[in-house]
């Protein structure tokens, strides 16, 4: 399978990465090289094989559902590129 330019743009948008007009054809070539590399996997017989969900047989550990952390507003905000009055600042998202 290979991707066309329109697909490259669609994937870039899904990944939230802007791609310039100049970049798109290069990216298309690179992605197709990688997709070409993985194409041989189609030759493997995987009938009846379970997909791996965990490399080791381990049960998901659970803990009691109780509050273990909190009251760290300043720590949470410490690295924010824009903050105000204890909030993250974002562009307007509601029309």
């Amino acid at each position: 399978m290979s991707v066309d330019l329109a697909t490259v743009r669609r994937i870039a948008h899904l990944a939230r990465i802007s791609v310039s007009e100049d970049e798109a054809p290069h990216l298309q070539n690179e992605l197709n090289a990688i997709l070409g590399f993985v194409e041989e996997l189609n030759s493997v017989d995987v009938d009846g094989v379970e997909p791996m969900t965990s490399v080791l047989p381990m049960r998901m550990k659970k803990r009691v559902d109780e509050i273990t952390d909190g009251y760290i507003q300043q720590k949470v905000l410490a690295n924010a590129p824009a903050r105000e009055d204890g909030f993250f600042v974002v562009p307007k998202v509601i029309e």
Partner: protein, 493 residues
């Protein structure tokens, strides 16, 4: 370079205990070596003041006859581990200036045992690379050089800062991480020892995530013993990582020097690739001979799905990365570029913040997870992963204790030599290491010889789950038998 940086980690530990020198002296020697070696670009951030403060505290403990297993020993930390109050970037522009408000579990364990932090080590951006050339902060230069050449050699990747710093005596040992070979390939390229432990052995909490089902922490050190000492402190159960395993951590150092008599070593015929270089094939044969001489039994085995591991990895790893790296949105931390609306802000931030290789892998991951392609790519790759794991299970069930393979298909190469036209060329570096991550197994790389152009070569030992001790015993047997690899005189200052 002063004498104290010539010590192994074990020698330095014993010297501190015997009060032959202080941690401040040991640490100062390393701080000076780091400052002189900036041309290697191994450290992104140096923390000399913090190091000396930690060393003073260690000296106070040591004076009272107290202290942990790593008391007073200066280490380097891969800049993928979050360190409280010290910039952590994953070598990415998108995290430039990020100062964690918390400490990763593995580094917490190291400080608990008394280790001293020298600084944060360079790596490929988000650990995506095999040569340390994708770092936003510039490539790392290996202390090794080809015979009669001053071409800049890569230290491997992604843990290239770790491998170069350990090889050049800029720390006694370093933390690293391994998703497809990122501990073992750099160790092989620099004549150092690296172990990726079994998945779940070390907590991943506080380590910047790349591909969560493959990522594992481990050490790079100059000897098998040093790696064993470090891993004991790094490993352990952690409630903050549900995939960390609740099992006692053995004293790995006890396994170093243990007899390997009667151990069954599998030699997988599928690793003898078409076109394998004669010197890699000869190195492998030499490793077989050494283990045989040490009393091990050699058995040819088959791991029939080996050749599918690398392509399957290049579906699974980018898929998980595209999901993990979705968090870098320019809102909560890291770089922000302004846009005309929120989506434009995301797209501009991520386009500028991520480097080329990272963008490429996020795109591949997004594609293989997108509607209509999930079954054809991701689900199929996870099924193939089951088959790869089954190959190893069958070999171990037949009585094999460990598997011996080459570590890399070639010695280290020069900067710019690989992958500039075709990304897949670089990916092929991990052909011998990636199977181990796909199956969650432990893998140790130990230096074993030199290439014809004077660069180190390594061998890899793959073990049963949670049997790292067997790897340390076998690794030391190779270390003892192999010719000593001598680094060129320090040309870097």
């Amino acid at each position: 370079m002063t004498d104290l940086t010539r010590l192994t980690l074990a020698q330095a530990r014993d010297g501190l205990k015997a009060k032959r020198f202080t941690s401040v002296e040991l640490t100062q020697a390393h701080v000076d070596a780091v400052a002189k070696a900036r041309s290697l670009n191994a450290y992104i951030v140096e923390t000399p003041e913090k190091a000396l403060d930690m060393a003073k505290a260690s000296d106070a403990k040591l004076a009272k006859g107290e202290g942990g297993a790593l008391e007073g020993l200066p280490l380097g930390i891969k800049d993928l581990y979050c360190t409280e109050g010290v910039q952590t970037t994953a070598a990415s522009h998108i995290l430039e200036g990020f100062v964690p408000q918390y400490e990763s579990t593995v580094t917490t364990n190291l400080w608990r045992d008394g280790a001293v932090m020298l600084g944060k080590l360079n790596l490929d951006e988000f650990a995506m690379g095999s040569s340390n050339e994708t770092s936003y902060f510039g490539p790392v230069v290996s202390p090794w050089r080809r015979k009669n050449s001053d071409a800049k050699i890569v230290p491997g990747g992604s843990s290239g800062g770790s491998s170069a710093a350990v090889a050049a005596h800029l720390c006694l040992g370093a933390t690293a991480t391994d998703t497809g070979g990122s501990i073992r390939q750099p160790a092989a390229f620099t004549g150092t020892v690296g172990i990726k432990p079994t998945y779940g052995r070390c907590s991943r909490w506080g380590i910047v995530a790349f591909a969560s089902s493959l990522d594992q922490a481990g050490p790079i050190a100059r000897t098998v013993r040093d790696a064993a000492i470090m891993l004991r402190s790094m490993a352990g159960h952690d409630l903050k990582d549900t995939t960390s395993v609740d099992a006692p951590v053995p004293d790995y150092e006890q396994a170093v020097g243990a007899s390997v008599k009667g151990k069954v070593i599998g030699i997988p015929r599928e690793y003898r690739l078409d076109g394998m270089s004669a010197e890699i094939a000869a190195l492998w044969d030499q490793g077989v001979a050494w283990l045989k001489a040490a009393g091990a039994e050699i058995r040819e085995i088959s791991l029939p799905h080996t050749k599918h591991a690398l392509p399957a990895y290049y579906i699974v790893a980018p898929a998980e990365a595209s999901s993990n790296l979705a968090r870098y949105d320019g809102i909560r931390y890291g770089l922000r570029k302004t846009g005309k609306d929120i989506v434009d802000l995301y797209e501009k931030t991520r386009a500028e913040g991520f480097g080329k290789e990272v963008r490429r892998r996020i795109m591949i991951g997004t594609y293989v997870l997108s509607a209509g392609y999930y079954d054809a790519y991701y689900l199929r790759a996870q099924k193939i992963r089951t088959l790869i794991k089954r190959d190893f299970d069958l070999a171990y069930a037949s009585g094999v204790d460990a598997i011996l393979t080459p570590a890399t298909p070639s010695p280290a190469f020069a900067q710019g030599e690989k992958g500039s036209a075709d990304p897949v060329e670089m990916y092929l570096n991990d052909v011998f290491t990636v199977t181990v991550n796909m199956a969650g197994l432990p893998g140790l790389v130990v230096p074993a010889g030199m290439s014809s152009d004077g660069l180190p070569l390594g061998l890899q030992l793959i073990g049963r789950p949670f049997e790292e001790e067997t790897l340390f015993s076998l690794g030391e047997a190779i270390e003892q038998a192999a010719p000593k690899i001598v680094l060129p005189e320090p040309w870097w200052g």
